[in-house]
């Protein structure tokens, strides 16, 4: 356990009005991890991050940072630093003063401040703007200032609150790569809060998905995408078709069930289930064919194309398979001509390998 840099034990944050922002959360974050807290707005992820930083305090539970319970330690005495959503770069200081601020107020020697500030600015490639005031800088540059200002303190944990949300789409991609690179170079644990699944999936080594103040699942990005444990996680991460199913029986690692509109199928599931479940299948795992597909064990059904949306590399298709059930299907546009090869109103077969489907019991 010594390599756990942050260890959160049964933390809750309840407000006097009866609202619970964070509800009995426990999680461990290892040294040198790039950890993401992901969830819709109001799920408690920011509150959790603020409690790690000390800007908020839990009403119950422990927050161990570097092996010490710091749940009630003021932020200035914690080995954590934060990059704020609004960056909070002090407008009355130059870039250099901003970056050096955290060292100055903790009594670091002037020459040392100068050296480390220069180093940090070098790292975020802002050395040429050291004398600028923040109001003469772009959003992206200000964010780098905020990053340098936090990293110059050499924290054990760097906290990032929606760091990319205020940037435009192009800058965001660049910054995403840069954050990953930075994390690898400095070797500091990063904890990022985001509501954007793409951000979390592409940057983090592990993700905690939160909803209504509680953790739904903690897993690596690919596990989260391919092995979501709950309906919420499956729905929140990427697109998914969720189909109600009645459980008929269970033997070995397989559950046989009757899925609405799809008929009987056998899906792998280790846990014991009740009599109701949900079948989850990603749009790219569904296939379309004009003639009846052949192959043992394929789940197939007839449907009518309701909508085709062309996205260049892929086409997103909605097919009506009866019983008021629509399925989303993503097809690769592999040839220059023809696109998805289907059009609205066309009768088609929709099929998939049951091994690509997932049975969700929660």
């Amino acid at each position: 356990m010594s390599e756990q840099i942050v260890s959160i034990r049964n933390v809750s944050r309840r407000y006097p009005g009866g609202v619970t922002a964070v509800d009995d959360v426990s999680l461990d974050i290892a040294q040198n991890e790039f950890f993401a807290l992901l969830g819709p707005s109001g799920c408690g992820k920011t509150t959790l991050l603020r409690m790690i930083s000390g800007l908020d305090t839990p009403t119950e539970g422990q927050i161990m940072i570097g092996g010490q319970d710091m749940a009630l330690t003021p932020p200035n005495l914690r080995p954590t630093n934060m990059v704020f959503q609004s960056y909070a770069v002090f407008p009355h200081m130059t870039v250099e003063q901003n970056v050096g601020y955290g060292l100055k107020v903790t009594g670091v020697e002037a020459s040392e401040i100068k050296r480390r500030t220069a180093e940090a600015l070098e790292m975020v490639k802002l050395s040429h703007l050291a004398a600028r005031k923040p109001d003469q800088m772009s959003g992206g540059q200000r964010q780098r200032v905020a990053l340098a200002r936090a990293l110059v303190k050499r924290p054990k944990v760097l906290l990032l609150d929606e760091p990319l949300s205020a940037l435009d789409a192009k800058l965001r991609d660049g910054m995403r790569l840069e954050l990953t690179r930075l994390q690898e170079t400095v070797g500091i644990t990063f904890i990022i809060v985001t509501h954007d699944q793409d951000e979390a999936l592409s940057m983090a080594s592990r993700i905690a998905v939160m909803d209504k103040g509680a953790i739904q699942q903690i897993a690596t990005p690919s596990e989260l995408y391919e092995q979501p444990r709950t309906r919420f996680v499956a729905d929140f991460i990427g697109k998914v078709n969720l189909i109600d199913a009645a459980v008929l029986g269970q033997k070995g690692g397989k559950v046989s069930c009757l899925a609405q509109g799809l008929g009987n199928m056998e899906v792998g599931c280790e846990k014991s289930t009740g009599d109701k479940a949900t079948i989850a299948i990603r749009p790219e795992k569904l296939k379309i064919s004009v003639s009846e597909p052949k192959g043992a064990g394929l789940v197939k059904t007839k449907g009518t194309i309701r909508d085709v949306a062309y996205y260049g590399d892929t086409s997103h298709i909605v097919a009506d398979i009866g019983e008021g059930l629509d399925l989303s299907i993503n097809v690769q546009n592999n040839s220059r001509t023809g696109g998805s090869g289907v059009e609205r109103g066309q009768k088609v077969w929709v099929h998939f390998d049951p091994a690509d489907a997932l049975l969700l019991t929660e």
Partner: protein, 290 residues
């Protein structure tokens, strides 16, 4: 916005009454005052007249106004006003700060309670202070219970300063409240997060970032304090007179209008100087206005 030339008639109808009123009953009276400030008592038949004035007798009124006696009063007015302004600032800042961080439903009530006295007649508020602080007032009455006093708390500089603080406090709270409320709280959080204590955060971040509000508040309090007449007249003793009282004396008891006019202009110059300092500082800190 339309160009005035396109609607000349409407423009003139709207502009005329206000402009006329201000010219006739504000600018012309001030011009009278200005001319009077260079005047003097007329010499009629070799005697100094009581009722007539000579138009221009040079700068002697202004020269008189910078004689040590009056310079001293001017100086005293400035430091009493400055002290009252500083006291206002140090009491109003925590109040404004506290209101900004109070629960949302308390904010309007707390703010209203600070502003309400401002709407109550200045004279009545000053009178209320007299009732509290006079020798047979409630403060001395309370003190006498524990066997102290009675103390003479009125009719001195302390009473004037206290009165000014009491009377002009809302002027300080409002601009401070407005700037602190607009201040992005994540600046304070960032400072704490970077290792600053509450005190260093206050000194290095909160104060500089709320400077525009501080300056506005200081000017809003300092100017009326400098020109105050009622508070020193009622709460001050013989020694606690300020520039306003000197002006009043020239126009009422002493009947030396030209000199009173000259001092009035000295007061106006001081006021405009304060306003200009404010404009200057505001320009310099324009980048800081968040």
């Amino acid at each position: 916005m339309d160009n005035w030339k396109d609607y000349k008639k409407v423009f003139w109808i709207l502009a005329a009454p206000g402009t006329f009123w201000l010219l006739l009953f504000f600018v012309i009276p001030l011009a009278f005052l200005f001319i009077m400030s260079f005047g003097g008592k007329a010499i009629v038949n070799g005697e100094v007249s009581i009722t007539d004035y000579a138009y221009f007798t040079g700068f002697e009124n202004y020269l008189r106004s910078v004689e040590p006696l009056y310079l001293q009063i001017m100086w005293k007015s400035i430091w009493i006003s400055a002290l009252a302004t500083i006291l206002c600032l140090v009491t109003a800042y925590p109040i404004a700060f506290g209101i900004c961080f109070a629960p949302a439903r308390w904010k309007p009530i707390l703010l209203l309670l600070v502003v309400l006295p401002f709407w109550i007649n200045l004279l009545i508020r000053t009178y209320a202070l007299i009732a509290v602080f006079r020798t047979q007032g409630y403060v001395n009455l309370t003190l006498s219970v524990v066997g102290l006093g009675p103390y003479e708390m009125l009719y001195n500089d302390f009473a004037v300063i206290f009165g000014l603080v009491y009377v002009y406090m809302p002027f300080m709270v409002l601009p401070l409240y407005a700037t602190i409320e607009r201040l992005d709280k994540s600046f304070l959080e960032a400072s704490l997060d970077l290792g600053a204590t509450q005190f260093t955060t206050f000194k290095n971040v909160t104060i500089p970032l709320t400077m525009p509000g501080i300056i506005t508040g200081v000017i809003l309090v300092f100017i009326p304090c400098l020109g105050s007449f009622l508070t020193p007249a009622l709460l001050g003793g013989a020694n606690a007179i300020m520039i306003g009282n000197v002006i009043e004396r020239q126009f009422k008891a002493a009947n030396d209008w030209p000199f009173g006019a000259a001092i009035s202009f000295m007061l106006m110059f001081a006021t405009f100087a304060a306003l200009m300092i404010r404009a200057f500082v505001a320009k310099r800190s324009a980048g800081v206005d968040v």
